[in-house]
């Protein structure tokens, strides 16, 4: 769906567009705001302009745009309520044309409070950790003999996997060496 009226400029960090209702084939475009000089005589010319079909069409478009903005605002509030901070940051980075941060919870603000363990591999986890600390960093260190330093994007982690069967109480936190 292409809605240039609602698209953020490339440097913006607003969110990507959520699905919305169908739009007209020819989307409305924003009119140039009136200049102060033109605005000065606005009252006097008001009645005449209302009768101008071009003005009426523009006013219709403004109303449609305001409705779209209101809808957009609701959507953003909804996202904020239901997405965790890391997802919001990822959305902002993606729409700003930046690469997403690796999906690793290395700062408390970025993790979900959970009691479940997530299975992970050390190489990818460390690669993701270092990348998140140095997102614009260059190549990694020299690879140890026989084991290449992998440069491909980090693999998203699997969803949390419970370690104990359902109903199993937490392990005793006692004499574990």
């Amino acid at each position: 769906m292409n809605r240039p009226d609602l698209q953020a400029p490339p440097e913006s960090s607003t969110f990507p567009e959520p699905p919305g209702p169908p739009t007209p084939a020819t989307p409305p475009t924003l009119a140039t705001p009136p200049t102060p000089d033109a605005a000065a005589g606005a009252d006097a010319a008001d009645a005449g302009r209302r009768s101008d079909p071009r003005i009426a069409r523009l006013e219709g478009r403004v109303a449609a745009l305001e409705a779209a903005l209101e809808r957009r605002s609701q959507e953003l509030r909804l996202l904020q309520r239901h997405l965790c901070p890391v997802d919001l940051v990822q959305l902002a980075r993606l729409t700003a044309g930046l690469p997403p941060l690796p999906r690793i919870a290395c700062e408390p603000g970025f993790w979900r409070e959970t009691r479940e363990l997530t299975e992970a591999d050390v190489p990818e986890t460390l690669e993701a950790l270092w990348s998140s600390l140095h997102p614009l960093g260059s190549a990694g260190p020299p690879a140890p003999a026989g084991t290449p330093w992998r440069q491909e994007p980090p693999v998203p982690q699997e969803p949390p996997v419970p370690q104990e069967p359902p109903g199993t109480p937490p392990p005793l936190r006692t004499a574990a060496p």
Binding site: C106, P108, P123, G146
Partner: protein
Amino acid sequence: MSGPRITLVILAWNHWRLTERCLETLAATDLDGAEVVVVDNGSTDETPEGLARLPWVRVVRLPENVGFVRGNNAGIAAAAPGSDVVLLNNDLELTQRDWLRRLAACAHSAPDVGVVGCRLVLPDGRLLHAGTYIMPDTVWGQQVGSLERDVGQHGGTEEVSGIVFACAYIRREVLDAIGGLALEFASYFEDTDFCLRARQAGWKTLLCGEVTLIHDEHGSTRGDEGALMRLFQGSRDIFRRKWRRELAARYRHHLLWQSILNFPTGYAMSCRELLRALDDMGVRTVYRYVYGPKTVFPPVEPESSGDYRLNVIRARRAPRSPEISVVYGQGDVFARNRGRAKVGFTMLEVDGFPREWVAQANRMDEVWVPSEFNRRGFLESGLRRPIHVVPLGVDVRYFNPGITAYPNPGGEFVFLALFEWGERKEPSLLLQAFNDEFLAREPVRLVCKVINRDPGVRLKEEIRRLRLRAAGGKISYLFNLEFPHYQLGALYRSADAFVSVSRGEGWNMPLMEAMACGLPAIATDWGAHQEFVHAGNAYPLRVRKLVRARAKCPYYDGFRWADPDPEHLRFLLRHVYEHRDEARARGLAAAREMAANWTWETAAQKIIARLEAIKDMAAGIRSAKAAM
């Protein structure tokens, strides 16, 4: 001094592309004058023509496919007189230039070395082979380290039961003594059979972990799984008849081991290692789960451990009246011991033991603990039975300075800590001290692998309450991630130093593993780990005093643990950061000590010594009764 004379024997049957790739990669390595013999096992594709184009290869052409064993024997027979022989599969890729020199050096490192294999990895990088073992219960050969990700494990030289003959360096003396591959096997089991025959004749089999080759397994037999299975089963039957009794005879001791195996707990992790080490050293253990319904840990244990050997041990039938049984777990399950001679093996993180544990321990024939720290605590708590220190250990094949590292490319100095969030591990002390001591602009970072399974703890809130300064030392968290245990060495090796500031430890496995990997470690100077930590191999953290142990764990009630000194912790963090050469040297000293003194084999030896002493005592009592 020139090296031994060597003949490389490559068996090929069709699949010329595989053979060609093998020979191309072989030619790019240092062969040091070794002769290359290719045995063409009756190929009907372009193999004969392809080989004819390679003047540096001597070809032994067989009129038909005579199988793996006879084909290789034809190559051995064609080898230069007096030369050592290296058997190679044609589906290998040789990517290590000095592979042959290293294998030869390993084979001639001692007079009793007869056969040497190497690490084999699959084309996707997973470890396929680091030696083999075979259990008499099933007579089904297993490859060590099979299909683990390659993080540099098994990178040293180690004695193994057997190797696969995809790559086998065989010294001439062994061939002269026992001949070639046994002709009763068409394919499969001939390699294990050869290693066993060599051992009978006094020759060891070694894995040379410095050499890694790529093995496109079953390249020559791919596409005919049925034929492969028939070959395998036929050879297995022959092998069983020939070796089962011999394999079973290697067990000199029998033991019932009641513990916990298939849960992610410290006892379970160490139980797995102990069972493997005991099996390696000739103790036939039968495992039974000691917890379950009506115990302090009621869950039923999952059946599979994900480890073939442990599954076999778990599936063995338990004797009705075992001579000796060891309960390895908390002291309040000692009463479930089923042996005629009863041993309770436990540990705790405070300076004494609960009354119920002591009461149950006093019904054992003897008690084992891993540390002098716990021995003292048990005696002071009223134990009246004999008590012995039986240490735990570390697997230096997976935890050593040669394990692959994934270091921080930003160049920061990295301190690593692993802990479960709770009172005992004292995380707030570490986070606060680190954050206070360092500045954010300094190139240093603390990485905490932290676990929280306590529903009563909101970790984000706990950390927020510490009010760590944004301008202070930088901290990153790996939160509730569970890594395969075999990969943890790579985590340690990717850091520069390790910190453990807990108030009390029953052993402290992560600390020992980190030290085995060569990390300089800061550790509280109180607890069981004092057994292996001292100022020559680590940085002991001063304790201000002992304080009452306050935690959710009821076992700690009435006992004390350490109060580590925050100022000294800051001093040590700064010291390690600023004296890196000294710290590195201390870490390497730790790695040497762990490898020399603290392996699971050492722990198993101590157990075996106790089993023998218990048997001697029992025999003495029986003979005294008979004399009365």
